[in-house]
Symmetry: C2
Subunit: 752 residues, 2 copies
């Protein structure tokens, strides 16, 4: 991008505008990729089918046939003379006497280009390349991928893969993988087939299946954003799940496209993700592994959270959440009742509640009274409700207590923990009773508008009663933290939706109409001088152009001017700072004088600052000395912005001083954000209670602070030139926000 066009590459009021107004992703327009040929193809060709039972081409053919694909299936084999699995193969795809929606290609890389061309010529709508040996092996493979993409793009054909393990689609009964996948309600998109196997082992054990399942491999064409968007509108999918190693982006627009599509999906459907590379060492390992440029993990985490994605850490945790949404309705609030027949399990569940945002409240007197009428005096009824040995005498206490708890208007969800499913071992009578009570619990849960989840130490044994509950009712987990994580996800869903809704409904800040011209003048000046660092007076003018209220200031070019400026500002104390494009760290250079209290002191300060600057850097160009009134102080904050290689412009907030330096207590968002998200990022830092005012200190005007954060985020989104903004410190006061120091760095011209 040339210097002439560096300002205002795109003007957005919110992230969602990106995909509406811009066609900027690396693959052309960000409008929805049509994945119907993948998930609901009318006809499928398997290229590389084989009758050799040791070959991938055999296993895949068998999988497609055994799973009873609903459309027409054609096997393609250059070499096979005889039938494959009772079907006559075609020598090439062009021989197939019908149109093909989807081609699954499992042939060696050296044969790929002609086959792709053949597919393109045939009018195939989408191909899945399952073979390995492409970009993941080095530069040659990457070059091959480019050629593949060129063929496909020209024909309007979409590519999934290469280097993937295929896909599965429940509506089409399509299993284009060699993994034994069942139908269900989870939509799972994976960047690794291994994790697909890993998760599926446990999914099968839990009786869970997929509406859609896709391993997207090297993502040379179709990517996470496309699959998330498709599964988001797919009726059979109740929850969208991802295993991510990193986003593959050609530019930050791809990152932003993903964020926006995930967010739009999360408005209508729960979305959960593992993203590896969380720790510093892990991020380093991820770069080695995926070969991708790692953006900031803090920003990735913020982006997922902004998009309303539930982030989990392991395959089992992902499945905990997937199971919850496969089998439960979301909760309306976070107040839960815990019903237990093992005191210790009840306490452990209560311990775990907080970690997942759950409130195990003390039940109302009325509810306690009702429970007391059911239970013996030694049974605790405050919450957890502890049956403490009563089920052996009367199994129906489970059901009667569940009835009371689900009817309590203060309770948003019910967690049953302990030993259910183990009573059947005591006698045949207990076995029958346990099943009867299970049926009643299932019915009760179905009638209620509140979610029910269960933990049982007998879950791994899968007795009939638990099997029944899982198949017909609600999830049963073998570990308490899994059950609580599940309830936490159910409870958090509404809050995540509400957060997105509020943010989208909020008005972006009003920005002055003349801002572009004013900023352009400043940037032009800096670029003309081949500078990327704005001096503080310039940075202040950029902020003013965007409507930030900045204290008055003047630039003194000699000592007398400094004295005059002192008087001009009413004679109260002033701060004086050296203004030089060559002196970035003013304090280190002795370039700041605080508490200047008279004209005489102003003159002295001027001379001193100039002297210090000369000593610091004899060749530094000096524009003068900035004079500005001392600000009365407030709570020290930092508001900043930096450019992330995955998501582009971001905004950062933190409390200043030790909070940033010792505790690294800062929050991030992908820019732009409106006031609701800005308030969220202010509230989420650990030190935020400080803003309410503690130890006799006055509190801060959080609304004004949020307004400033939001405004900065919109500013950097408009100004593609800006690499970094650092407002540090900012004094947050009862009345508003005072920016004490501002630093803006532009991106080098050659990067634009």
């Amino acid at each position: 991008m040339s210097n002439a066009t560096f300002v205002v590459s795109y003007a957005l009021t919110s992230l969602s505008a990106l995909s509406k107004r811009n066609c900027k992703t690396s693959r052309g327009c960000a409008s929805m990729a049509d994945l119907t040929p993948l998930f609901k193809p009318k006809s499928v060709a398997l290229v590389g089918a084989s009758s050799d039972t040791k070959k991938y081409g055999y296993w895949t053919a068998k999988s497609l046939i055994d799973n009873k694909f609903t459309g027409d299936l054609y096997l393609i084999s250059k070499t096979a003379a005889a039938d494959i699995l009772g079907r006559k193969p075609y020598t090439s795809i062009s021989d197939v006497p019908a149109s093909i929606d989807l081609a699954i290609i499992g042939i060696a890389p050296k044969y790929i280009l002609p086959v792709l061309q053949e597919c393109a010529d045939k009018g195939v709508k989408a191909v899945i390349v399952v073979s390995t040996g492409f970009g993941e092996t080095g530069p040659e493979g990457k070059a091959l991928e480019k050629e593949m993409l060129a063929i496909a793009s020209k024909a309007g054909m979409r590519i999934m893969g290469p280097n993937c393990m295929g896909m599965f689609s429940a509506p089409a009964s399509l299993n284009a993988s060699i993994i034994d996948l069942d139908k269900g309600h989870m939509g799972l998109v994976l960047q690794s087939g291994n994790f697909g196997i890993d998760i599926n082992f446990n999914a099968k054990k839990r009786g869970l299946g997929y509406s859609g399942w896709a391993t997207i491999g090297n993502q040379i064409d179709l990517r996470f954003a496309d699959f998330v968007e498709y599964l988001g509108q797919d009726e059979a999918t109740r929850v969208v799940m991802m295993y991510m190693e990193g986003l593959r982006v050609s530019s930050v627009n791809d990152g932003r496209d993903f964020l926006e599509k995930a967010r739009r999906t999360a408005l209508n459907k729960p979305v959960a993700a593992i993203k590896i590379g969380r720790s510093a060492a892990g991020a380093r390992a991820a770069v080695s592994h995926t070969g991708s440029l790692a953006g900031s993990e803090k920003v990735f985490d913020a982006a997922l959270s902004q998009a309303g994605v539930i982030r989990v850490d392991s395959p089992n945790e992902l499945l905990d959440v997937g199971e919850a949404f496969s089998r439960c309705k979301p909760a309306k609030g976070n107040r839960i009742a815990i019903l237990t027949d093992g005191g210790g399990h009840g306490v452990m569940a209560t311990d775990t509640a907080e970690r997942f945002g759950l409130n195990a409240l003390v039940l109302s007197d009325e509810t306690q009274k009702k429970l007391r009428a059911i239970l013996k005096p030694h049974c605790p009824v405050k919450n957890p409700v502890d049956l403490a040995g009563t089920p052996e005498a009367d199994m129906w206490v489970f059901d009667r207590c569940a009835e009371v708890l689900l009817a309590d208007p203060d309770v948003d969800g019910l967690v049953i923990v302990g030993l259910y499913g183990g009573y059947c071992d005591l006698s045949e009578e207990f076995r029958q009773l346990e099943m009867d009570v299970a049926k009643s619990l299932v019915e009760r849960a179905a009638k209620s508008d509140k979610p029910v989840v269960m933990h049982s130490i007998y879950q791994p044994q899968c007795p009939d009663s638990l099997q029944y509950i899982m198949e017909h009712g609600f999830p049963v987990y073998g570990a308490i933290d899994a059950a609580m994580r599940a309830m936490g996800a159910l409870v958090g869903y509404g809050a995540r939706q509400e957060r997105i809704r509020k943010e989208l409904a909020a008005k972006p800040p009003q920005l002055p109409a003349d801002r572009h011209a004013r900023v352009r003048a400043i940037f032009d000046m800096a670029r003309a001088q081949t500078r990327v660092n704005l001096v503080e007076t310039e940075a202040r003018e950029v902020l003013r152009a965007y409507g930030f209220t900045m204290p008055e200031y003047g630039l003194a070019k000699h000592a007398d001017e400094a004295a005059k400026l002192f008087s001009k500002f009413g004679g109260s104390k002033v701060v004086m700072k050296i203004v030089s494009p060559d002196i970035l760290h003013k304090t280190d250079a002795g370039g700041v004088c605080l508490n200047v209290a008279s004209e005489e002191q102003a003159r002295q300060a001027y001379d001193k600052l100039l002297g210090n600057a000369r000593r610091y850097d004899a060749l530094a160009e000096i524009y003068g000395v900035m004079v500005t009134p001392m600000l009365p102080g407030g709570i020290e904050c930092i508001i900043g912005s930096s450019f992330d290689t995955t998501f582009g412009q971001t905004v950062m907030f933190g409390l200043g001083g030790i909070f940033v330096e010792v505790l690294k207590d800062v929050s991030f968002r992908v820019a732009p954000i409106n006031v609701p998200e800005a308030e969220g990022m202010i509230r989420e830092i650990k030190g935020s209670p400080l803003l309410e005012g503690v130890r006799g200190q006055k509190g801060a005007n959080v609304a004004a602070l949020a307004e400033a954060v939001s405004k900065l985020s919109h500013m950097v989104t408009e100004l593609a030139d800006v690499a970094e903004v650092d407002l540090n410190p900012v004094f947050a006061t009862e009345d508003g926000v005072d920016i004490v120091d501002a630093r803006i760095v532009l991106r080098p011209s050659n990067e634009m």
Copy 2:
């Protein structure tokens, strides 16, 4: 305790002295309880044996017989006419024509007393009461327990239970439970039989067993401390594990006895525990459930950490750790190598490392070079070492890489993650290869002095190769976080031992010889006035008596005296504070004047303070006004002490101001502690980098700070009268520690 004896109830130099010098636990002397009759009985009687296959008395008899108890077994049944399981029962224990070491009693509570008496008369050494219906049901049950204890104590017979699920001992092949337990190397003590079942399900799946296993129920006699101590010296036990709901204590000496025994055990053997009731809501639930008085969770956590106990949160986590120590040698340091055949799994393992204190370091150039000679160019070798598809071509890369990594002197342990165990599905050749490589890996691990743990997504399927590794070599986990938790425990063991060793080797602080008399005079005065609050001048004298350097001060009784004191302190600024036993919160009462800079100001301040005090509380008794030099400032800290109902005197450290008020950033220890533990508690708070000096501020003398914390901890340990000490603020400077304000509260006389 009368007023006359309130000072120096016990004088200890360290916690370990408690059990050596004192016989203060609720059950008499704290010397080791002999659990040999429980774990290695020569003869066992089962009282309540039955031939009814639906009864506990049948199941237990069967369990004892089936598990081939090595000693003599006698079945006792009042009612059985015929043989039970082919053995002739005795009508009563007194009929048995031999001596009995251990009686297992499973009869209704109403019959318990005469049976216990009979056991006592027979000379039975220990009894296990498995029946329920005792203290856990209410006051009547509690009264019955007292009578049981009286009978046993008189006869020197020990009781385990009641309300428990029995026990298991590998050396005696004794399974006195109805649970199917296997022999192995874990010693597990549980406060809940349910959790015993829960953990055992998974232990069996993992092929793990127990050296000793005990459910200790209501703990009317034998408690955690006894079992931990026994298993600590038991040769078959490699790791001691506990499931705790809370300590049952008659006095804090029981809590301290547990801490000390756990610590002595942890010096020689790893100890791990779950303790439920961690959250506020969980603690409330635990009180409902166990009926016990809950001490502070923060203190309990500190005590476990002080004792070197690995704290985990769930049964599965406990087993992760138990498996590690059952099958591995501990690591000498925390630097680990990760070897993976799935890139994503490698990254995930790296992510998880930090959480468990592991350092997935970048491997040395030399090691990388050796690995590169084995692996293809596309395989990352920095750490994680990613085989990236090579095992399919050559399975032995696992073994060759493991050899290189175990030989690297920078590597303390090896974690293999990914897909091992899944290759066998590819072909018969691979099955054989996978087993051969497994055997070599096992051999390699056995020869190395470094631990090896494995994760495999195929672990739940338990293929032959993994089965072999688990049985003959090292643990294989099905989840990455489990593998990393295990390695974390192995790595942390040495550090925990070293911590205890250092603390025990450290000399306690030198305390002035005349401290007791000096403190006694002050306490006598307060007690004589029926006060529990010491005024600040008194608190300062107590601290001085214990060797704390306190600034000079004087007590002015009228304005002129205040002026004189000002001059006496050299004319620099002074602080003046009201001294009244009725005014505790001096600042609230307007009872503090800072920066008093002249004699005149001192006079005015005196009058002002007195006026304020009168307005605040017209009836307050006023001792005068304390005058003391202003201290120059430093890093604001808090050092405090409070009395915990489980562990007694504790000590607390935190950074002052917002760190305490906003972030609750404080650490605790059970008193007394020496300098090493005190340094540990200073370093463990999040804000501790502040003490190194940040933002141009000077750092603090951490050694002096630790000395002060240690000294206070010894002081409160000696002074059983003291309920609470609050040194707040304390200024930590480069030179030392300045105590600015001190508050001491005594325990009410009637509690002594």
